[in-house]
């Protein structure tokens, strides 16, 4: 049962990921990522990370993807031209990446860590992966990381305003066509 769930999830997540890369229209790529995230959340559940699975769906597939959709819609669904300035990259890049995958897989499979070929300990504490457990850890052991992450969110908001917000200055103050090329 667990195997079936895993393979379904894996195929979905991987298919979504490949679709992100393969689809020409960025709009569809965003949707593919949503699919990927949904399946990934399922895999998270298999790993007893209920809270994170929920967070992934709600925050990520929900909120962040909406941002993507907005931007993709705003800038328009630009189809990438067939012509490629450096076709060789399209060839050697994936080959090298697959080689990297093979190398990392060898490292994982070849590791002497015996726990890797188990499903993990059975005597895990009750409430493993629940919001309560994660929340406790966050407030007790990883308070600084949590606070820093919240500051990071604040800064990201500031950055977004700086970069994408409407300029308040008088547009006449800036020279027109002030483009360097």
């Amino acid at each position: 049962m667990e195997q079936i769930a895993f393979f379904c999830g894996a195929i979905g997540a991987l298919g979504g990921a490949i679709a992100v890369v393969a689809l020409k229209n960025p709009f569809y790529s965003v949707l593919a990522l949503v699919i990927h995230l949904v399946f990934l959340a399922g895999i998270f559940l298999l790993l007893m990370a209920q809270f994170l699975a929920a967070a992934l769906i709600v925050v990520y597939a929900g909120a962040v993807m909406v941002l993507y959709v907005f931007v993709a819609a705003y800038v328009g669904g630009i189809e990438e031209p067939r012509w490629d300035s450096s076709p060789e990259l399209k060839l050697i890049g994936p080959i090298a990446a697959i080689a990297l995958f093979v190398a990392i897989s060898i490292a994982i499979v070849g590791s002497g860590l015996s726990a890797l070929s188990t499903t993990g300990p059975d005597d895990i504490p009750a409430g493993f992966g629940t919001p309560e457990a994660v929340g406790h850890l966050m407030m007790e052991d990883f308070l600084i990381a949590f606070e820093a992450a919240s500051i990071l969110l604040l800064l990201a908001a500031v950055a977004a305003i700086v970069l994408a917000g409407r300029r308040r200055e008088d547009p006449n103050k800036l020279p027109k066509g002030g483009e360097s090329s």
Binding site: A107, F142, L152, A156, V162, L163, E169
Partner: protein, 510 residues
């Protein structure tokens, strides 16, 4: 379940608290227009308080907040370096187009946030704080690079930095995950213990590949070849005050965690990674120095030179000795002085010449503006490692530490790299002093000396022909240059400073 709040040592946490408070104040100030003008004052004040807290905690040696952070000599010294370079960046940014367009307070908030990331990173002793500190450092920097919204190069550099940087972060994360799996812990000390306790984990493929991926992620942040390629592009494209900040402070913070993670968490397997880091250092020395040779943009040249300098510094980690860490911190401190002097002059020249940082725009500077020319010359000589500047002593220490630990070949690489670097550093110095001034009439109106970089613009509103008389630009240049010479003649105080950092690691390394 009972909530078990961690004990918080407020004295030890004071630098971070001060900086966070400053950050919040700056963000709030953005809303209130009358205060907005005083953003730089506010930022400098916050940095001063932070620096004060750091100096207050000079002799601290404590674990903070459930082992997430550790305030010790290494953290204090490298945080101070980051704070100083951030303060310089604030000064250099006054009146800069990037700052003006981004809205002064917002720009400063991003800068302060990045600085906060650095201070956290310098103290990080857990993978979580490590990762989040690194991202807190980087993400505001990505945005800062793009803040000169009118310039295509600026946006381009921001996006390039973001994309390549995120690839680096993802790689780092992947490596951290593997080490977490191999050691079963997230705290640095616990990782070391876990690796030693585990059965054969010290040379396990999972551990080592994890180490490799972490090395990649960190190498990316400190611009070590072959993960350097963003450096020249981003240095050139980003607004110069940001480049100045990035060049110096990022290195300080990233090297702090580099040292800590490799010497503490991965200290037990130092003989596994030292050859790799040595190879990366050597490659950086070659790539950086060779790449800098034919550059015509000063910022780009400094970018390549930064790659080479990062290679020199990485050599200090390779030794995995206290002497190596001392040498690295010493070099880093000297590097702050040299780079600040160089970039301050670049800012001055940019504003006078319509934002061109071409080396030819320095022609005849020695005659017309000796106050600007001298800091640049000293910076170049110091970067080149000529005596009697701090760069010379720094290289000497590095070489000594390497030789002492039987890394003679790497020491020789440093010597050779230094010699190659003379060619491009001295070219700049020679341009400043030897080439004749431009035609007299052009010299009178400096802005006209070079064709405006921005086509179609009659007069750039940010051009400032009197930039060489602005104290906030000139003072950093002169003070930094003076420091580069002073510590070259009397290096002992800086040696003590570096020793303070090295001593903090004396439990872990010889």
């Amino acid at each position: 379940m009972i909530f078990d709040a961690p004990t918080i040592d407020y004295a030890g946490l004071s630098p971070i608290i001060a900086l966070t408070a400053g950050l919040v104040a700056i963000v709030l100030a953005a809303v209130i227009d009358p205060i907005k003008r005083f953003g730089p004052v506010l930022a400098l004040l916050a940095y001063a308080v932070t620096a004060g807290c750091l100096i207050w905690q000079w002799n601290a040696d404590v674990d903070l907040v459930a082992g997430a952070l550790r305030l010790d000599g290494l953290a204090v010294t490298l945080s101070l370096l980051a704070v100083v370079s951030a303060a310089v960046a604030v000064l250099l940014a006054i009146g800069d187009p990037s700052e003006t367009q981004a809205g002064r307070s917002d720009w400063l908030a991003l800068l302060t946030g990045s600085l906060l990331g650095m201070v956290i990173l310098a103290q990080a002793t857990s993978m979580l704080t490590f990762f989040v500190g690194l991202e807190l450092l980087s993400i505001p920097l990505y945005a800062l690079c793009g803040t000169n919204l009118r310039r295509r190069e600026s946006l381009e550099s921001g996006l390039k930095y973001l994309i390549v940087g995120s690839v680096g972060s993802a790689t780092l994360l992947y490596g951290l995950a593997m080490i977490y799996g191999a050691s079963g812990a997230t705290g640095f000390q616990a990782i070391a213990d876990g690796l030693q306790a585990g059965d054969g984990m010290l040379s396990d493929s999972l551990t080592l590949v994890g180490v490799g991926l972490v090395a990649v992620g960190l190498a990316f942040k400190v611009s070590i070849a072959p993960f350097h390629q963003w450096t020249p592009d981003v240095y050139q494209g980003a607004p110069t005050p940001v480049t100045a900040f990035m060049a110096v402070a990022t290195k300080a913070a990233a090297f702090a965690v580099f040292i800590r993670f490799f010497e503490v968490a991965l200290g037990p397997i130092a003989d596994q990674w030292d050859v790799l880091l040595a190879a990366l250092a050597a490659l950086s020395i070659v790539v950086g120095n060779v790449g800098a040779l034919a550059q015509s943009s000063l910022k780009r040249m400094l970018g390549y030179s930064g790659i080479a300098q990062a290679g020199y510094m990485l050599a200090g980690i390779v030794t995995a000795t206290q002497a190596g860490v001392d040498a690295l911190v010493f070099y880093l401190a000297g590097y702050v002085a040299m780079n600040v002097a160089a970039f301050a002059v670049v800012v001055i020249r940019e504003r006078q010449t319509g934002f061109s940082d071409d080396i030819s725009s320095l022609r005849g500077l020695g005659r017309s503006k000796p106050l600007v020319a001298w800091p640049l010359t000293i910076a170049m000589l110091a970067l080149a490692g000529l005596p009697p500047t701090v760069g010379f002593i720094g290289k000497l220490y590095l070489i000594e530490a390497l030789v002492d630990d039987d890394w003679t070949w790497l020491a020789v690489m440093i010597a050779i790299g230094t010699m190659i670097s003379l060619a491009y550093y001295l070219r700049v110095a020679a341009t400043v002093w030897m080439s004749p001034a431009d035609e007299p009439e052009a010299a009178a109106i400096d802005t006209a000396a070079l064709p405006p970089q921005i086509a179609g613009a009659q007069v750039d509103p940010f051009d400032d022909p009197h930039a060489d008389r602005r104290w906030y630009l000139l003072a950093p240049a002169i003070i930094a240059a003076a420091a580069a010479v002073f510590f070259g003649v009397i290096p002992q105080p800086l040696v003590e400073f570096a020793n303070h950092a090295g001593n903090a690691l004396s439990i872990w390394i010889s």
